[in-house]
Symmetry: C2
Subunit: 181 residues, 2 copies
């Protein structure tokens, strides 16, 4: 069994630029949280870590493995959930209504005899739809928490840390995930 | 992007024996469904495909990749869910009460630039706890459906196709998955 250990930092602007080109990866790059200390901070979004999200609708899972250019920043298993407010829009491929929450529960993984097995949580990241309140970031508020710990928010500058990565997905209401029946 | 195409058959008894030694893999080997046509059939279990299981508690995800000895039989992304009847027992690591259902939603995957991305459904498999009714198979009934289609049940001999693989996990009430907080 080999343990996969990943760095969580975006170390330079070249890598950051690469991440910004990540259209089609199918992830909430809100999971690229924290560590962007070189940008000027704007106000953090006032989101709360939702309870019971593992009882929400499971949208999909993605594993970012060592071969990915995003491994250093986002390596791990990404379990994506959506709350009931957004479920119909997800299935119909329509813009999401206010109060929709999409959540990435980001875990480590190990590779055991050729199988990728889920490990402990690295972070939890959410995007909450409120067209008025978060108009400057596509109608979405963004936040993430280290280890899924509500006392450890990671996003201080949602535009730089989150929205810039979501902008290329404007035609999907800034959401990377889509419905898998 | 490389599409991962897997065979779904267990072609020989050596491979079947290997699967029976699969303790620790963390999967419901009920997903090894169908195609065991060489065994004498006993009565199939009368289970129904549950509706809305993607709103159940998401237990874990596992990806069985090409390097796994189980790839030919079970390659793919395995999303495991549990219904509300079993959620507390899962979290406490206790034997499961009657009416617990564990479900594997088994999907294809593609590898896109080093990331494992969920694809279409291959099959859905369940185990339902009823200590009396299914006493001869550890208190669990087993069934699976090709493509998640309720008209396409796959298990005709639950002992041979399912329970024999689960027997090594007797100390976990015959369940491979365990709780990942």
């Amino acid at each position: 069994m080999s343990s996969v250990s990943t760095g969580d930092r975006i170390r330079n602007s070249a890598q950051w630029a690469r991440i910004k080109r990540s259209a089609g990866l199918g992830l909430l790059s809100a999971a690229v949280v924290g560590s962007i200390t070189s940008f000027a901070a704007e106000s953090a979004h006032d989101l709360k870590l939702p309870a019971s999200f593992r009882n929400w609708y499971h949208v999909n899972t993605m594993v970012i493995d060592k071969g990915s250019p995003f491994f250093e920043a986002m390596g791990g298993m990404h379990n994506v959930y959506i709350n009931s407010a957004g479920e119909t829009a997800l299935k119909k491929g329509e813009p999401y209504p206010d109060k929709t929450v999409l959540l990435v529960d980001w875990h480590e993984f190990t590779i055991s005899d050729g199988s990728y097995v889920e490990g402990p949580r690295k972070a939890t990241a959410v995007m909450l739809k409120d067209k008025k309140k978060y108009a400057s970031t596509g109608g979405w508020g963004f936040q993430g928490w280290a280890g899924g710990d509500p006392t450890k928010p990671l996003v201080t500058d949602p535009t730089k840390q989150c929205f810039e990565c979501h902008q290329p997905k404007k035609d999907q209401d800034y959401v990377y995930s889509s419905y898998i029946p």
